[in-house]
């Protein structure tokens, strides 16, 4: 009897310990969200809609928001098609030399320090062009985006049960049609998840933009060959300023960035649950 009670007590203690460590692990996340909300909301409320639409001198971060969307869009335009095809290739030819090399490279790229990407793009684009530009920033972000999308595409395709592959080839389809017209659509949810995660990732990046996009906060961007701002970059700049009002603004911008991130991420979580074959 007492042995069994001891075992139960041990089990309970273990559960409590696990619960506490879990709590410690997730506490910072809630702390971040709470801090950003508490510090970010007052400046936004004080300024009203101008905070979202105005330029920096008007007390708004409009150009930075537009810049972030512009950079995300452009980097997707450059990176998504290539990344998608790389992912499909790695799935279709897993044992080929290029296929294996690709998979290894993707893993490295996922973990690659993003500031190095920024330095590299500055060297090959910003310096030759003679100016910071939205294009250079988008190119750097595309390099960061690609491995996410490629790895998710590859993984999504790998999850397709072999029987669907047999079924599509069994209908006398060419490899191209079987892969792109049947198997890719079968795994479209998984691929879309990768696309959204990649986009959410680059929308929040700062380091690769430091030496590539410059910054533009007093007017809205109108050309991809001109410097452009971005919310994370603006936060970085504002925090370095000595003025308290700039700090308040940085908090407001942080909240906007958080909301954009959540707007992308929550639908991803939802769609992930639906991935079933």
């Amino acid at each position: 009897m007492s042995v069994s009670n001891f075992r139960k007590a041990k089990e309970k203690a273990f559960l409590i310990a696990v619960g506490i460590t879990t709590l410690i692990a997730i506490l910072p996340l809630f702390h971040i969200i709470a801090t950003v909300l508490m510090n970010g909301l007052p400046p936004i409320v004080a300024k009203g809609p101008v905070f979202i639409t105005g330029t920096l001198s008007e007390g708004g971060i409009g150009p930075a928001i537009v810049g972030t969307f512009m950079l995300t869009f452009l980097s997707s335009l450059i990176g998504l098609p290539i990344a998608f095809l790389v992912g499909v290739y790695a799935y279709e030819y897993p044992k080929s030399a290029i296929g294996r090399l690709t998979k290894a490279l993707l893993q490295i790229m996922l973990e690659f320090p993003t500031i190095l990407v920024g330095v590299f793009v500055m060297d090959i684009i910003a310096i030759p062009m003679g100016t910071y530009s939205a294009f250079a920033g988008a190119f750097a972000l595309a390099i960061i985006l690609m491995p996410y999308v490629a790895v998710y595409t590859h993984e999504a395709m790998r999850q397709i049960p072999f029987t669907y592959r047999e079924a599509s080839f069994g209908l006398g389809l060419t490899k191209f049609k079987a892969v792109f017209r049947v198997l890719v659509p079968v795994s479209k949810r998984g691929i879309m998840t990768g696309v959204l995660i990649g986009m959410a990732k680059v929308a929040g990046e700062t380091a690769p933009l430091l030496f590539t996009t410059g910054g533009l906060y007093q007017s809205y961007p109108h050309s991809i060959s001109q410097p452009v701002g971005a919310i994370p970059l603006l936060i970085y700049t504002l925090v370095q300023s000595p003025s308290a009002s700039d700090h308040a603004m940085a908090w407001g911008a942080s909240l906007v960035l958080l909301l954009i991130f959540l707007a992308v991420f929550i639908p991803i979580r939802r769609s992930l649950k639906e991935v079933k074959l």
Binding site: P161, T163, E166, A167, G170, G172, V182
Partner: protein, 254 residues
């Protein structure tokens, strides 16, 4: 026209050093249900996939010998495996309609992607024809736009039969088509075989001697990669020549 739908000559299949089919000579008459039976892991499914060259999806598989489809060797170098697969339809062990396509599109996809229907009307007619042949039309005619996830296992399997039939194949391969569906669905599929053999040659892989006895005209007994005995279903079950066959049909060999 050749009297045999499928004929193999010294067919050998191996995965690396592992030879799973060890020189099989087999002749399958036209318009019959031919049951290829044997215990699990004896090479039935592997051999079946040599008949439509689907085995080539597995890069490690090596096929030697000949497989003749109505007298023509499908492994001769000038034959396109894609053409072979259009002539030899297949139904799989796991009911696998494409989850992202509607019931209609599941049947139509082979025709659409191979551009085999001239217009929408012809496509509609062929889809209906295939679903009627697969004895599913009445159950799905009012829900052609639904997704197959709502269908029962047996219905899904008949949908897959319709998908294969829509291509108007000459031979239909069925790899344990009832292994994953309920008894009612199994009965419907088995009834379907009687209808279909009017127009097609059906090669049915099954590990169940009882099923082979119920539905087939001829039986081949495959054991450890060798074809032990072939004959009419009646002969195989009533007076098998080989001892192993006798043990298998009486349930002593599993």
């Amino acid at each position: 026209m050749n009297e045999y739908a499928i004929e193999t000559k010294n067919l050998k299949i191996s995965y690396g050093d592992n030879e799973v089919i060890k020189g099989v000579d087999l002749k399958v008459l036209k318009n019959v249900v031919f049951a290829l039976m044997g215990p699990s892991g004896c090479g039935k499914s592997t051999m079946l996939r040599a008949f439509n060259r689907l085995l080539e999806l597995n890069k490690d598989a090596v096929v030697e010998g000949e497989v003749l489809l109505f007298g023509e060797n499908i492994y001769s170098p000038d034959i396109d495996p894609i053409e072979v697969r259009r002539d030899v339809g297949m139904v799989f062990q796991y009911p696998n309609p494409f989850p992202h396509l509607t019931i209609y599109d599941n049947v139509a996809i082979g025709l659409k992607l191979n551009k085999l229907a001239k217009n929408k009307r012809e496509l509609d007619e062929r889809v209906r024809w295939a679903l009627e042949k697969a004895a599913l039309w009445d159950e799905v005619k009012d829900r052609m736009g639904d997704y197959p996830s709502d269908l029962s296992g047996g219905q899904k399997q008949r949908l897959v039969v319709a998908r294969a039939l829509a291509m108007k194949p000459k031979v239909l391969l069925m790899d344990e088509p009832t292994a994953n569906i309920d008894p009612v669905g199994t009965k419907k599929i088995e009834e379907l075989l009687f209808e279909l053999k009017e127009d097609y040659t059906i090669i049915l892989v099954t590990h169940s001697p009882a099923q082979a006895a119920r539905v087939s005209d001829c039986v081949g007994f495959l054991y450890l990669g060798e074809l032990i005995e072939v004959g009419s279903t009646k002969d195989i079950f009533e007076k098998p020549k080989n001892e192993l066959t006798e043990q298998y049909v009486t349930g002593e060999l599993v």
